[in-house]
């Protein structure tokens, strides 16, 4: 299938997370390590363009124009996003689903177009799926075992006080 052959590389491409072009929201130090008390590797001006490489906690490693690498606060970064056309409209995977169902005979329900406003408004209740969903639910105990298995430790953290709600 020609269309599939054309689109397949798009699908197989890794998630766009490495070397993502980004902009720094405000003037900031470029840190040598991901910590606020780390020495600076350089300075970044407001709206400086960088390539985001990886995230570690609240820090993102970036490559500045000129090639210097260092760490900035992840919340200070905004990605290219708005208005710029990117390959791989998520709608494409819809197309591929149909194709895949046709060729491999997997159980993807045909006719599923996904969740848009119109479908949500016109949906009829599906009791069978609701029942299935209930059958997959986890007990408190089993979730505790699952957490322990991932070395997750429950912490005592208060909700923020602001907002008045």
């Amino acid at each position: 299938m020609k269309l599939l052959a054309l689109l397949l590389p798009l699908l197989l491409a890794p998630a766009p997370c490495l070397a993502e072009p980004a902009t720094v929201m405000r003037a900031t130090d470029l840190k040598q390590q991901p910590a606020s008390d780390a020495p600076a590797a350089g300075q970044l001006a407001e709206n400086a363009k960088v390539d985001a490489l990886e995230r570690k906690g609240g820090w993102t490693r970036v490559k500045a124009e000129g090639g210097t690498e260092g760490w900035v606060r992840m919340l200070a970064l905004r990605y290219a996003g708005a208005g710029e056309a990117k390959p791989g409209d998520a709608g494409i995977s819809q197309l591929l689903n149909v194709a895949r169902t046709g060729t491999s005979g997997t159980q993807v329900t045909t006719g599923v177009r996904g969740l848009d406003a119109e479908q949500l408004a016109n949906a009829k209740p599906n009791a069978a799926e609701l029942k299935k969903m209930a059958s997959y639910s986890a007990s408190k105990d089993s979730a505790e075992g699952f957490a322990a298995n991932g070395k997750l430790r429950a912490q005592r953290v208060d909700y923020p006080k602001e907002g008045g709600k």
Binding site: R78, G81, A82, Q94, Q107, V108, E129, A138, K165
Partner: protein, 281 residues
């Protein structure tokens, strides 16, 4: 009866003795005062049982728009993560249920009483269990604070002022009034909540994920992924329409920086996530 009238009558109902007798032209003030009182009561009296029932009905409708992804291991994994997070909250004993919807769009939904959904499209863009936890915690916060339930009540009151919403909730699920209440709920998924509800759910979501022992930056990280997407992409159209822009949500989360940083070194569980939530297709 318009909204202003209802508000005015609230004031009257509060100020006037219960048996006050007015006659203003042809308006039956007593009846209207009673109605206003009923509406007032309705805002506080939808019990947990009705909350869960309404939520289940709405969940069935969402599943009518898109079924579950046919992957039991994935669905059970989602329920483990979600149930663990819900256990860290003030409503640990709701019938919490989580489902991945077979839809390419990127979105997540909560219905009253503890049913929570995420689309396959959104799951596929995530990189770790901590990111998944951040999104589920945001949806859990909507349930905890009854954001949808309150919006449904508010919407139904405007449309149905004159009948107590509580009565509607208790009526047979096949009656026309119950149907109206539910359609108000369904519309919410296409229309969205108040911006303040979304930003509150972001703040609480960060806290709940941190309580669960996850890297608290999971939710901001997903918001950055969304922020990097083209808003014209059909996959994000509905979510962008029903939520504040991801950049704005990230700005608002700067207030949470102390909490985020205090729990940034907790596990992300990238490998466990990849093994179960992203099976080779």
């Amino acid at each position: 009866m318009n909204r202003h009238c209802v508000i005015l009558l609230f004031a009257l109902a509060a100020a006037a003795p219960a048996q006050a007798q007015f006659n203003l032209r042809n308006l039956d003030i007593n009846k209207l005062v009673d109605t206003a009182k009923n509406v007032g009561k309705a805002t506080t009296e939808i019990g947990e049982k009705e909350e869960i029932e309404i939520g289940q009905d709405l969940a069935a409708r969402l599943l009518g728009a898109a079924p579950l992804v046919a992957n039991e291991a994935m669905q059970r994994y989602l329920n483990q993560v979600g149930r663990w997070l819900a256990s860290q909250t003030e409503r640990p004993d709701l019938p919490w249920r989580f489902g991945v919807l077979e839809a390419p769009q990127l979105n997540a939904f909560a219905t009253p009483g503890g049913s929570i959904f995420i689309t396959r499209g959104l799951l596929e863009r995530m990189k770790s269990e901590a990111e998944l936890a951040g999104v589920l915690a945001h949806e859990i916060a909507h349930v905890l604070r009854k954001h949808h339930l309150k919006a449904i009540q508010k919407g139904a009151q405007v449309e149905l002022a004159g009948t107590a919403v509580t009565q509607l909730a208790r009526q047979d699920r096949n009656t026309a009034s119950r149907e109206k209440l539910l359609s108000t709920g369904s519309e919410l998924f296409a229309r969205g909540l108040d911006k303040s509800d979304e930003l509150e759910a972001d703040r609480l979501g960060v806290v709940i994920a941190a309580r669960g022992g996850y890297d608290a930056y999971g939710l901001p990280s997903v918001l950055q992924t969304l922020q990097a997407m083209n808003p014209q992409d059909s996959g994000v159209a509905l979510m962008f329409k029903t939520h504040p822009a991801p950049g704005e949500r990230l700005d608002a989360l700067e207030k949470m920086q102390p909490t985020l940083d205090a729990y940034a070194a907790q596990p992300q569980l990238t490998e466990r996530f990849a093994a179960t939530a992203r099976p080779r297709r």
